[in-house]
């Protein structure tokens, strides 16, 4: 009997997609023991947005969170970085990338996942090397998109590159849920074949509503694992529910290691957490054919609408969405994922508002176009190149990190006696942003009950001065 395994994303991508990445460590600790019992093969706990939101908005030290979660989970943990960009959108020198891998391994991370938003695997070389030397398993992602150049053969070539770089695991990452069962039927078997003995996994979002079907095709094509979330935090912009994919796998006769009781305990907790924290649960998305044209993730469209509102040009959204596919083509089909999603959208806004294409080209797009971040997937359009007005010597063909000098010697000089984690944080952030991280860690709760949650919730609500609850022979009175 064949087995299908699961990777949990509830503590990372699920709340990134549905809650703007605002899940705090204190919200995770009470349910950690139950998550650990679910039978996941790996639990993803870190990614670029989680790292950044921890620092900027939650004022938590992201490395401290990683350490705490690794200490309390027996299930192997997984940390995701954007390869050479780590947690941001800028490129870092090799010495910073290496130190980060070493620190994560020391904190207890077992699987080191890396991807590059251009699928330029040269940007993963130093991460893979450093991660392996630090003793972690390497999980190489390929980012899926739709374009005339992102063919099955294109992805087969990327898979072969990752196998050659000795990745232990491969994964297709579909950030906007663009995969269809039809494409899966050709792409997935081709990837499994190209990967040989290396396991291939699927990480797809639910914007189009097709993801659960696509997961089923992946299983049938020989994929070994699927990334999923606890049911209340699944669907919509998030990933499919573990419960739903498990049901499909069981019906197809796969052997699973999941514990249904533990899954229910976790889902119950997060369903309540949505109410307690006034945050949305995932809703199954309706099929939207326009998604395949502009490819912009749902969360980003609402963000764009807000930005257009502040510029008082909200009424031009339809024109802008129409301009997006054209800009994407002219720019050589960048994948509509961070940071290039922002590039394509902003250039489209500029084109529409200025009534002229490429009159203004942002600096970041100029850098992208000359290959500063890595190889561009398809040739740039002549109309764009003309306005770009770059000289031959401006184009970068070597490995992007080769022209970045090491940073650690300077940081060590500036911060004598700093720990490796402190050095890294100083490499990523302005010192002023790091001050709030120095506050002592709160006392975390490691278990909770519905009764304790009720008491805490009522006590917190300043609008309630008295509450009396009676159920099944038990009575409780809360009074301020």
């Amino acid at each position: 009997m064949k087995r299908f395994g699961f990777v949990d994303v509830t503590l990372r991508d699920a709340h990134q997609c549905l809650w703007g990445t605002r899940m705090t460590t204190a919200m995770m600790t009470p349910i950690l023991a139950d998550i650990d019992r679910c039978g996941y093969d790996t639990i993803n706990i870190l990614g670029g947005a989680v790292f950044d939101v921890c620092v900027r908005y939650l004022h938590e030290d992201p490395y401290a969170r990683v350490k705490l979660l690794c200490e309390h989970l027996r299930t192997p943990t997984d940390a995701l970085t954007r390869g050479q960009s780590l947690y941001t959108f800028e490129l870092f020198p090799d010495d910073v990338v290496e130190l980060n891998a070493k620190v994560l391994a020391k904190l207890g991370v077992k699987v080191f996942t890396v991807y590059d938003a251009l699928n330029d695997n040269r940007n993963l070389e130093s991460s893979i090397k450093a991660g392996r030397e630090a003793g972690m398993k390497i999980n190489g992602w390929m980012t899926y998109t739709l374009s005339p150049v992102h063919t099955d053969a294109y992805y087969v070539a990327r898979a072969k590159e990752l196998v050659k770089l000795k990745a232990d695991l491969l994964c297709v990452k579909d950030p906007t849920g663009l995969l269809t069962p039809e494409r899966g039927r050709t792409l997935f078997p081709a990837l499994v074949k190209a990967a040989g003995k290396t396991p291939v996994q699927l990480h797809s979002h639910c914007q189009s509503g097709l993801a659960p079907e696509v997961y089923q095709i992946a299983m049938q094509s020989g994929f070994t694992h699927g990334y999923t979330a606890s049911e209340p935090l699944a669907n919509g912009a998030s990933l499919p529910a573990t419960e739903e994919i498990a049901d499909r796998a069981r019906r197809l006769g796969y052997k699973l290691s999941l514990d249904r009781k533990a899954l229910k305990a976790v889902a119950d907790y997060f369903r309540w957490l949505c109410i307690r924290e006034n945050k949305p649960a995932g809703v199954v998305a309706k099929y939207d054919p326009a998604l395949y044209e502009h490819q912009i993730p749902g969360g980003m469209i609402s963000n764009l609408r807000y930005q257009l509102q502040t510029m008082k040009i909200e009424h031009r959204l339809p024109e802008i969405l129409e301009e997006v596919p054209r800009v994407r083509k002219d720019l050589g089909y960048p994948i509509v994922v961070s940071p290039f999603a922002q590039y394509v959208v902003t250039q489209s806004v500029l084109n529409v508002v200025q009534g002229e294409r490429y009159k203004t080209i942002p600096d970041e797009i100029r850098k992208y176009a000359v290959g500063y971040y890595g190889k561009v997937a398809a040739p740039l359009a002549p109309e764009f190149l003309e306005r770009l007005n770059a000289k031959d010597k401006d184009f970068v063909t070597e490995r992007p990190e080769d022209h970045i000098k090491p940073w650690l010697p300077r940081l060590r000089r500036e911060l004598p006696g700093a720990s490796d984690q402190e050095l890294l944080l100083a490499a990523f952030y302005d010192r002023r942003l790091l001050e709030p991280l120095k506050k002592p860690q709160p006392e975390y709760a490691w278990r909770t009950t519905p009764l304790a949650e009720l008491a805490g919730w009522l006590a917190q609500r300043r609008d309630i001065e008295y509450a009396h609850i009676r159920f099944a022979g038990t009575e409780m009175t809360f009074s301020s």
Binding site: N303, T346, T360, P362, R461, D463, A472
Partner: protein, 154 residues
């Protein structure tokens, strides 16, 4: 009735009742085997968690000195904002400004940056001459076509 543990299903029912009846100062409700009585404090607004805005605030605080949007004399050409956004006078917080009044500029001299939706756009002088006056302070919001500075052509 046999005693049992409160479940998350019970908790969700109780929370639902309390939240939907927010306009009553006092109420009592029975759902299945659960009875809820609540009295609210006078006039206090329900303490609902507010979602934080997702957009990051612009880096660096605005300068104290804010220049008036002077009338543009007919003779001096103005460098205008190509887009609505945030104007920055320096390449990074704390760095000296690209240009000051009196700076000599060529058409391709960078005189400022406009941040549009988190991306940076370099603004070039467009003419040869001397900066006569900078009309917009650092980190100020600018409108499409708004004059940013005046250049005395030579």
């Amino acid at each position: 009735m046999r005693s049992r543990e409160l479940t998350y299903e019970d908790l969700l029912k109780i929370a639902e009742v309390i939240r939907t009846a927010s306009h009553f100062s006092e109420f009592r409700l029975k759902v299945g085997d659960i009875e809820v009585s609540v009295r609210r404090s006078n006039g206090a607004a329900p303490a609902l968690a507010q979602a934080e805005p997702l957009a990051a605030p612009p880096e660096g605080a605005p300068e104290d000195r804010v220049l008036s949007k002077a009338e543009i004399p007919g003779s001096a050409p103005a460098v205008r904002a190509p887009m609505v956004g945030t104007f920055y006078r320096a390449p990074s917080p704390g760095a000296p400004p690209f240009v000051e009044a009196g700076s000599k500029v060529k058409p391709d001299t960078v005189v400022g940056i406009i941040e549009v939706m988190k991306l940076m756009n370099q603004i070039e002088a467009g003419v040869r001459g001397t900066v006569k006056e900078v009309l917009v302070g650092n980190a100020e919001a600018v409108e499409h076509g708004q004059p940013l500075m005046l250049i005395d052509p030579r």
